[in-house]
Symmetry: D2
Subunit: 334 residues, 4 copies
């Protein structure tokens, strides 16, 4: 940790600060510049409250040099983590596509979509049973019944399932779900992160709308510090001033996360854009950028025959996309 002192700090105050830091078990290197003095703190700086030091009258700035995340940090664990779901492997060159409807609506709907996405080459079936809705008056999902229908579709197709859990109350219902999704709004619901950290199954953690990569990795760290190392990260768009798409897909985050962490990183082009016709180009771009997988909305509902499904692909569109993705993957893997 680097502590930059203000100009013309009285020597006495400086010594007082150095003593206090040393009293916290750290060593201090003093480096005198032409205008300013810089202290280098050596030892276990996690014991020190960075904000506290930054607030001191004689301090101008503090910079932490070592990353606060440990278990997910590539520095301490250089090899890629591979998350396994049955026979499916995710990460370290294993590309995984999760597909299915935004909401589970009926047994025929989910089973039909499951068969369709499996035929097109999807590896997992996604489907929302518990739906996080901005308004309390909007449809909140079929809940437990939705999970039951998802499991029926799994039985019919053999596809493992992934579904979102919104709170610890519902967690017991997810015992038999293959991958538990933590949504963007819950990325810093630390109670929920700790609870799924105590489980021993893969967790799909979505990046929050306004969260930095560091915060994202520290949320993964919450799960991992409870003992569950099977975390899949998912970039799904961030909130910016831009108003044409629902969110702004931050694909450079995929490459940046690849450097910072050994965990697999997938992309959700459906929620990132909110517009079905932008999903194929963004899915292609994510694959070309080196993502470890995708989670894509696909519907097959006669009610939607009239429409595109706000951000969902039709099965035939999904199939066409899968064919092109395969070619992109061949180039990337080469």
């Amino acid at each position: 940790m680097i502590v930059v002192l203000k100009q013309n700090v009285p020597g006495e105050k400086r010594e007082q600060l150095i003593s206090w830091i040393e009293g916290n078990g750290l060593r201090v290197h003093v480096s005198e510049g032409e205008f300013q003095t810089v202290l280098g703190l050596i030892g276990d700086t996690t014991r020190i409250d960075m904000d506290l030091i930054e607030s001191m009258e004689i301090v101008e700035r503090v910079n932490r040099i070592t990353d606060p995340f440990k278990r997910c940090n590539r520095k301490f664990h250089p090899e890629d983590t591979i998350v396994t779901v049955g026979d499916i492997r995710i990460g370290h060159g294993n590309f995984c596509v999760m597909a299915g409807p935004c909401s589970v609506e009926s047994e025929s709907q989910i089973t039909e979509v499951a068969h369709a996405v499996k035929a097109a080459g999807a590896d997992l079936l996604r489907g929302g049973a518990f739906k996080p809705r901005t308004s309390p008056y909007d449809f909140q999902g079929l809940k437990a019944d939705g999970l039951t229908l998802l499991k029926a579709a799994r039985k019919a197709t053999g596809l493992p399932i992934v579904s979102e859990c919104m709170g610890i109350t519902d967690l017991p219902l997810f015992e038999d779900v293959d991958v538990i999704q933590i949504g963007a709004r819950n990325m810093q619901n630390f109670e929920l992160l700790k609870a799924v950290g105590k489980m021993r199954k893969p967790i799909l953690l979505k990046r929050g709308l306004a969260n930095t990569l560091k915060e994202f990795l520290l949320s993964a760290e919450y799960i991992m510090s409870e003992g569950n190392e099977q975390v899949i990260l998912c970039e799904r768009g961030i909130r910016t001033f831009d108003d044409y798409t629902r969110n702004t897909l931050d694909l450079a985050a995929v490459s940046m996360l690849r450097e910072l962490t050994h965990l697999p990183i997938i992309v959700d082009p459906s929620h990132a854009t909110g517009i079905a016709r932008l999903v194929p180009p963004m899915a292609m771009a994510a694959a070309a950028a080196g993502a470890d997988g995708l989670i894509i909305e696909v519907h097959n509902d006669p009610l939607h025959a009239l429409c595109d499904g706000a951000q969902s692909l039709k099965p035939e569109e999904f199939e066409a996309l899968m064919g092109r993705l395969k070619k992109i993957r061949e180039i990337i893997a080469a």
Copy 2:
């Protein structure tokens, strides 16, 4: 709801859409422009999925005209709501100051701060027992013990207490806390919002880092739709590109919320800026903008004698601020 159709839509497809909308129990007004046709939907449009219509091939854009929030909407409840905590009244011209340390650390610390802020004119004592921390390795608060200490300080001073609850597991511990705070990271933790909506005590709801005013009001609506109408809104800064302060305090939101809702609106200048010396000017600005109150960090810890306390005021600074705030309030109330 206004549905703008694309140019040159075939008449047949248009009729199909109109029939479908009418089949959902709504009436449709057709308005033909030079280039485009606009449908006006009349009736209970909450029954319709706006995203679904927007996604239809023949639709260019959809605009909802009626607000999705009801119980907190000033249109349907023009008089200001006054939230009461014992003898304290918040809202409709009743200005309320909540003050205290970021974290409860010890009985002497919290009791000393409580006496100090009471002497300076604070109405409630704030103090963190459960601390939401970005990193799992940072201090997470004294938890249940912290609440016990807060209650002791309440007994010693008579000040009602406000403290943050981070999850439903801990909620039983808050039965005897006067005001329950829902933090910014949990603004869309719908499980928690519903749970405090079932309680019958004031809830202090903080705006999320990247949430619009509409989303903020809909989170209040989650609480109110469960029967708890005692909601205090708190603006505490939003996340922007700006990097000098921790967040960007959005004071215009106070005036805008005043128009949209009848709920009281307070401001947290401590978390918004993260810098103690910016707290007094921002507190003054918030009062001048017409806020119904403030929540301010104040510390009194010998360990902090060396420093300013990242974003906390010293008791004497708080007292000086209270004197100036009183004068601002006199101008605003005139």
Copy 3:
């Protein structure tokens, strides 16, 4: 244009507004909802100040339905525009790569880089002679001498050149530059846009750091409305809260712009990320998303031997990237 009136507007005020609109040469369709009245304005609504109407006491909201951009609008010009530079064609499936150093430094440097990027398959040579620098104390480029060196490199290699012009004073120096670049900071320098609009050569217009797609297209419209239709749009990252990369590359903008305009759209992965090792994955992603080209920084300076060049690729890295891009293009073009 749709004008939504507030609730319970007196009939008299409403009639006054309708008369005023009709007095401006428009027709008005009135649509009465259960709670609110909506006016549909028909005719040439560009004559009306939308902000003025929105500000009227009786008005709640105004929505413009027709796009304010005309000449660059795909609705009025469905076929892709192809910009030509000598034999080079950009747009409508013609992929173009512009490459070269951030700054022109010396004849040997720019000529060596020019030969290297040409050998790797670049179509144009880019190089900065006038450099927009945040600080007046930073190196501002070789200016006129830089352009002379660029032209020498063009002569040596046959590659057409693209370089940034920062103000109308310097414009005469660009008469013999093949493509004139307008930088992100000048996207709304309307004096400069109008001046290059009077020229008859291709303009490379970069998106501003915080500009919407609509504003971007209206800046293109400023150029086109002066008679110059040869505009190439360039997405180069937007400013967000995110702090790992210099800007956030908004690749969905490429697909969205494709729908809105017939102009060619290229991507600048070097400035978007500011980190050389993120340039290849983002270049691949841009190609996979369907961009019409790329502008990439490549250096070849012995002084940089020690380093990566903040955001510049080495010639051998650029060559490897070009090989992979070619394969991506084959998939996209199929």
Copy 4:
């Protein structure tokens, strides 16, 4: 400047870097941590390209410790600058209000508004003659005629005038304008900044929509480095995800700038919010936050009788606001 090296850097590469830095005329302090080595660079670090070092293979991070702005920096010039316009003084406790219409429309309009704002206590008359418009098809102002009308209003009332200049072509027309405004879109139009830096009259520099305080100060530095020290800074709202107001007024920037610079700082609540009824509370808040002045839109046009004027106050509203501002100022100045 602090250079943090990556872990396990070979000693040879480290020495190479140190030699290179020393070759640039700087001294290097080496500080060895448990995991990482930190270099402290001492001397005139402006000679070094920070991005270049950051890009070096063996470097993890670079932090500049000394501010890049000099002339506007309070560290080197602790006393407040007072900008004078005739008898008017701005800064160091001298509060200044500039008021007038968004656009100059006619002699009667501007003269009537000028008399009205003078009677209410305004110090300067503002009025737009050259209007920066997003669309080339929108009204661009009366231009030279507008300036003539402004000067007539100055003659009639004695109020000095402030008006925006959009480009160097028009600058000769501003010789006799008392304060020249550089708008937000031109904050980084360096050609224009340098040109007004050569003048010897006060410049009102508005913060760009997405610019940090450091960039803002460096743009002031562009003007000052040409010899013109009479710069007034103006916070006018930044672009964020928030969609209720046109921009987000960043009032904490006023307090932060106060620390960083000795230049006067004013606030534009009209453009920041875009909504007339939010102007008075935000003007009050700005005064309470310690701003040195305000620039406020006021209109007096019979055509606007029907409306509020998107973001303009009526003269009677402005007068009422001035009365309340005076009281706020008395508290702040006490």
